[in-house]
């Protein structure tokens, strides 16, 4: 049709231009590198392995929840209940482990506690899915229900009280190392790869994007729209549950009041900074992990440099806008 080359990355151009090109085309990455550069310049002791570990462990939960959020956003929805589901999973596991049964059979208790906790969070996700797909309730409102009462359920279960425990096998989830790498970072990477791969290669992934892109058309083409949504929200709940368990494990205590507080905002921000479109049809899982890294690094930078909480909030607001703007420059060629 035209005589211009279609893939304009290959044409010979000065190096600077190329770098600029890659960065403008991948705004998320450029925002990330920008943050790293800033940190190298101003943050004391930034180039330490411990710094890396601290950031890895702290971003793990955001990243895991953001992956689930990306899937939901990709299917055209949103999930406000992830923080509440984290709290739910985080309280259910210690409840079982600290019960008479769990105390007398520690290993069986652990084997039961983790799946049951994850099941509880998945059930919450499934509940969201049912509201969204079966009753056609708009996702923000559907998930607002569990946002309000999910944490309440967790609090009712524990009467709002903290449950401290000393179960090293469980705490490994939060504090352990695998080949020297924080265990939760390993979990994050594995989950990200599995999800990214599933999205790319599996029929479910294709269906998910089709539903997010144009639900009516997908339905007409034989995509089981409701089932896809059910699975998507359930997976998101499951991932939130995993994050909840990790949080509980690090703290060696479950706190229904605090676990996952405001996580939905971080996760949504991470997903969007990572390139998810709130209109659906795109689910960049790896981007979400990168987005989580940006959110984490941003917090780290402000904190480590003594920027006080109030000012940090303003700065965060600014950085989110800049990151999303950079991210969007890639898409909007106009």
């Amino acid at each position: 049709m035209t005589d211009t080359t279609i893939t304009f990355g290959h044409s010979p151009k000065p190096l600077m231009f190329k770098v600029k090109n890659i960065l403008t085309r991948n705004g998320t990455l450029s925002a990330f590198f920008l943050l790293i550069l800033v940190n190298l310049a101003i943050t004391p002791n930034f180039l330490e392995i411990q710094t890396l570990y601290v950031n890895l462990t702290q971003m793990a939960t955001i990243a895991i929840v953001a992956i689930g959020m990306t899937l939901v956003i990709g299917s055209g929805g949103i999930d406000l209940s992830v923080g509440a589901l984290m709290a739910l999973a985080g309280t259910v596991a210690p409840l079982i482990m600290l019960s008479d049964f769990g105390m007398s059979n520690p290993s069986i208790g652990l084997m039961v506690a983790i799946p049951v906790a994850l099941l509880a969070a998945s059930a919450g996700g499934l509940f969201n899915g049912v509201l969204v797909s079966r009753y056609n309730i708009q996702p923000i409102i559907a998930t607002l229900v569990l946002f309000i009462s999910g944490r309440g359920i967790a609090q009712v279960l524990t009467n709002g009280e903290l449950q401290s425990f000393d179960i090293p096998a469980f705490e490994f989830l939060g504090t352990g190392r695998l080949l020297g790498i924080p265990f939760q970072a390993v979990i994050t990477v594995v989950l990200a790869l599995v999800c990214a791969w599933t999205l790319r290669r599996s029929i479910f992934g294709r269906y998910l994007l089709a539903v997010g892109g144009n639900e009516k058309a997908a339905q007409l083409a034989g995509v089981p729209v409701k089932k896809v949504k059910l699975v998507t929200y359930t997976v998101c709940g499951l991932l939130a549950g995993i994050a909840g368990l990790i949080t509980t494990a690090i703290n060696a205590a479950s706190d229904a009041n605090q676990t996952g507080q405001l996580m939905e905002l971080d996760a949504i921000a991470a997903a969007v900074v990572g390139g998810a479109l709130l209109t659906g049809g795109k689910a960049p899982v790896i981007g979400a992990v990168l987005g989580a890294a940006i959110i984490q690094l941003m917090g780290y930078t402000l904190l480590a440099n003594g920027v006080h909480d109030a000012v940090a909030m303003v700065a965060k607001a600014f950085i989110i806008i800049v990151a999303v703007y950079l991210q969007q420059m890639r898409g909007g060629s106009k």
Binding site: M1, I203, A210, Q219, L220, P224, L277, G281, K282
Partner: protein, 500 residues
């Protein structure tokens, strides 16, 4: 307009395009799908910004930043896809942006009467307070036209205004165009119905691959000239092919594939019965709003409230709960509304094409990539789908190519019965021919095809048999000798005319 360039993400859509329109003339732009007609129009009215070139309007150099500016300057546009607001009433849609006001407040009384009188020019008498989406596409299209005409513009741009109108409505539109023309308004007219042009147009600009390749007065052109110009081929070459793509039938009709008995239920479908045989193309004719699309949707397991009646596939009665069931029974359905029910805009050509095939393609839930690519390449090749690659988002393709991808989506599933609702709506002659050829070829290979079309010519030449639907009832069947355009027109409009 002179030397207009416009590209999307590095792909040129317009190269050195030129357009000159005189006051009081009806100027047609023709060209294949993707030739750049709509893009040129959008550049003119400010929806897109051009990369290079100049636009002069009444001797002044102009460049509009938005359709709003163009509208203020006197350029009003009817866009190719109906672009109105479904939830809002007809009045609101017509008056939007220039509501009659009293003391700064919207004067609803005047607004309604303005809307009513505007529509009356088109012979429509509708409840203007109702939301637009309660009306069918043809009515919506007429509302869009009425809106543009009511704007008191110097130039009215019409991008394929007739693609969802029937003959009667088209002739009403032509009446309005003549009125406008008489009052000195210039009209820019884009259409794939070449015959229409002779009726209404003065000047023709031919576009090909983003360039304006020819500009002549209509009297100096024949249909063949136009087709040749659009395709960039010699006249002889084109002449050999005929005007529609349908060739003569080569395979005898087989046994009954689909039988519909007394289908009815909620309005507008009341009582429809017909049979489709293997290797047969059955046409459904009817006026807009007769309920043809609803019949098709009901068969395919959509709109489940159409409860009465029976549907048989291969002799067995079936009741599809959802499209998946129909697909499993090897049915395929191309809906009339590409944007709403067809494409998944963010996904690539490849992903769109294999969507319906996935359950069969996938192994243990995974999609075999190589095989998928191979299938996509095969169909893109076979249907001549023009895209920069199979990874291009489908939203960037022209309408005709989008339609081909959707056809391929169903062909790939190797269906027994294919339901095509307006398969060639808004598609250029070149692509249309190809699609028509393809339909024939599919039928000859034993496929049963149910084709809904508002173009009677297409039905006459393409269908083996035509069922006429009138106000939700199947009233007539035309075959063989009786299958003539005139006969369809008569049959289709019999009652409605008698009523008036």
């Amino acid at each position: 307009m002179r030397g207009i360039h416009k590209s999307f993400g590095g792909i040129a859509a317009l190269t050195d395009a030129e357009l000159i329109i005189q006051p009081g003339e009806v100027h047609a732009i023709i060209g294949q799908n993707g030739a750049g007609k709509s893009t040129l129009i959008k550049v003119l009215n400010g929806a897109y910004k051009h990369d290079a070139g100049e636009i002069f309007f009444m001797g002044e150099k102009v460049s509009y930043g938005s359709p709003h500016e163009a509208q203020c300057a006197g350029i009003s546009t009817i866009f190719q896809e109906v672009n109105l607001i479904g939830y809002r009433s007809i009045t609101e849609n017509i008056c939007l942006g220039h509501e009659p006001k009293r003391f700064g407040m919207v004067d609803w009384k005047r607004a309604h009467s303005h809307a009513r009188s505007t529509l009356r020019r088109f012979g429509l008498d509708l409840d203007v307070r109702k939301p637009l989406n309660e009306f069918n596409i043809a009515t919506q299209q007429l509302v869009a036209i009425a809106r543009a005409v009511a704007l008191d513009a110097r130039i009215v741009i019409m991008d394929e205004p007739t693609s969802s109108l029937d003959d009667h409505e088209t002739s009403v539109l032509f009446g309005v165009i003549r009125e406008l023309k008489a009052s000195g308004v210039a009209i820019l007219y884009v259409s794939h119905h070449l015959d229409e042009l002779f009726e209404i147009c003065d000047e023709i600009t031919v576009m090909r691959d983003g360039r304006t390749v020819d500009r002549k007065h209509i009297s100096q052109m024949t249909k063949l000239d136009m087709v040749a110009g659009m395709l960039g081929r010699s006249i002889d070459d084109v002449e050999a092919g005929g005007t529609t793509g349908f060739s003569a039938k080569s395979t005898p009709i087989g046994e009954v594939m689909l039988a519909v008995k007394g289908l009815g239920g909620a309005s507008p479908v009341k009582n429809v019965s017909f049979k489709v045989h293997k290797a047969e193309v059955l046409g459904l004719a009817g006026l807009l709003g007769a309920g043809r699309s609803e019949v098709a949707r009901a068969i395919f397991g959509l709109d489940r409230d159409q409860k009465r009646g029976q549907v048989f596939i291969d002799g067995c009665e079936v009741e599809f709960e959802r499209p998946t069931d129909a697909i499993n029974a090897q049915l395929g359905f191309c809906s009339e509304d590409r944007k709403q029910d067809g494409i998944i805009p963010q996904l690539s050509v490849r992903e769109n094409l294999t969507l319906a095939l996935l359950p069969r393609l996938a192994r243990r839930g995974l999609i075999p990539e190589a095989e998928e690519r191979e299938i996509v390449a095969r169909y893109m090749d076979r249907l001549g789908i023009k895209a920069s690659s199979m990874e291009q988002p489908i939203s960037q393709l022209s309408g005709g190519n989008q339609q081909k991808v959707l056809l391929a989506r169903w062909m790939a599933t190797n269906p027994k019965l294919l339901i095509l609702d307006e398969p060639t709506r808004g598609i250029d002659v070149g692509a249309k021919r190809e699609i028509q050829l393809l339909i024939r070829e599919l039928a000859d290979n034993g496929l049963a095809v149910l084709m809904i079309s508002s173009e009677f010519e297409e039905l006459v030449e393409g269908a083996d048999r035509v069922i006429v639907i009138q106000e939700g009832q199947s009233v007539d069947e035309l075959t063989g000798e009786s299958l003539r355009v005139n006969a369809i027109i008569k049959s289709v409009s019999h009652i409605s005319h008698a009523k008036q």
